[in-house]
Symmetry: none
Subunit: 217 residues, 2 copies
DNA sequence: ATTTAAATTTAGACAAATCTAAAAATATGT
DNA sequence: ACATATTTTTAGATTTGTCTAAATTTAAAT
């Protein structure tokens, strides 16, 4: 697979997430920032390689093989994003462009060991789930409080940092597994959040919010 | 610069190392594992971009600009090799192919931070010097004690850390500029080294060894 | 120095990935 | 349902990087 082919597979995968029906040529052209005619050409090549289903005028969708490939590229992208943030101190909003390049590096072993170095993370810095080696996505309904959309509600289901200092803090502030959490406001400046925990309003630092897993309801 | 163009610059740089005269089309074709006619085409493109000097039938050499670019690619290659060995536990003989890909990733910031993460190494896992950000190659004969090959001998010529604490330590242990140093053994576990300083055997921590410059003899 | 050999360049072609402009198929509105 | 609008595909051209085969230039040898 060339870089460009991998990017098309990724785009088809993302556009297909919502509905189960085929992706239109125009939609794909929009996503790829290219012209519909170019998309048609590329789709034909991809169909010949057996990674997409394609019938003229009927849109395109991934085959089993194409889906595996797309997930593998997405896995690489998100693992590299974690690396950039965790190991090289990039901000979560600076890493996308670099990861777009790194995701095309070809070495199974490299990715396995990167995964290990990072402690087998389940989510990338944007809160998106990282596909596993065998191609399954961890359920999206569990995510870090810091990654939840504004005004969403959920149930506290876990912690990322399980140090006793952190758990003690949660205890002191009456935050526990099973408690309801509502995200009221996000502070741009320091990424801290205003929440209600079981109707008790409180202000949590980014430190805290980025270590609490919440299941959306 | 495209990946291919960067690879040509690198190849020209390496073939030029020995003699000062221009690199022949055939030699370059050999290095790049391609045909001489392809090389001619590429050289013309590179000349138009002002990164090589080229006169028909007279061979090719790097301009100032081309040399800077080549060194930058080599720097990336060698830093990634250090990363693969130090952080991902690859063997030194497994990293070349992967580094060939990683060296083309475009981000100044990425390389600067990688350099920092690795502790500003001067040599790659094969012992080749890593060009600095400003494009100078550390001379092969001065290097950190911690980077010296086993059983090599040298003269202490400088320190990296020049804090008084460190200098006091050297004084107390009778290590000074001009003293002979022989590297007897390296401890895998903590990277400490066993050395003889002017025939006096001693055991130095990695802390120490990675702050002492030695000139090979 | 003249011929032969080797190195280098040109000419023409091809695959990948893109574009523009025009044609064909599908969808939409009343 | 029929005309019109939208979407999609085709046709032909371009760029990058490569190739083969032929022509040209430089080097070598007797």
């Amino acid at each position: 697979m060339t870089h460009s082919e991998e990017n098309y597979l990724k785009a088809i995968f993302h556009l297909n997430k919502g509905g189960a029906k085929a992706v239109s040529t125009n939609a794909l052209a929009g996503q790829m920032d290219t012209k519909p005619s170019s998309v048609t050409d590329m789709i034909r090549r991809l169909a010949e390689k057996g990674v997409v289903h394609y019938k003229k005028y009927q849109g395109v969708s991934l085959t089993e093989k194409g889906s595996r490939l797309a997930l593998s590229v997405i896995r690489k992208h998100r693992l590299w994003e974690v690396f950039l943030v965790e190991k090289l101190s990039f901000n979560w909003d600076e890493v996308h462009e670099i990861a777009e390049q790194l995701e095309h590096i070809k070495s199974e072993q490299l990715i396995d060991r990167l995964d290990e170095l990072l402690g087998f993370p389940q989510f990338d810095p944007h809160g998106d789930p990282i596909p596993t080696k065998d191609g399954s996505l961890p359920s999206g309904d569990k995510q870090l409080l810091s990654n939840m959309p504004l005004h969403s509600k959920g149930i506290c289901v876990g912690v990322k940092d399980s140090s006793s200092a952190f758990l003690k803090f949660l205890d002191k502030n009456n935050i526990a597994l099973g408690h309801r959490i509502e995200l009221l406001e996000k502070e741009e400046f320091d990424n801290s959040v205003f929440v209600k925990v079981n109707d008790a309003p409180m202000h949590l630092s980014y430190q805290i919010a980025s270590n609490l897993y919440v299941k959306k309801i």
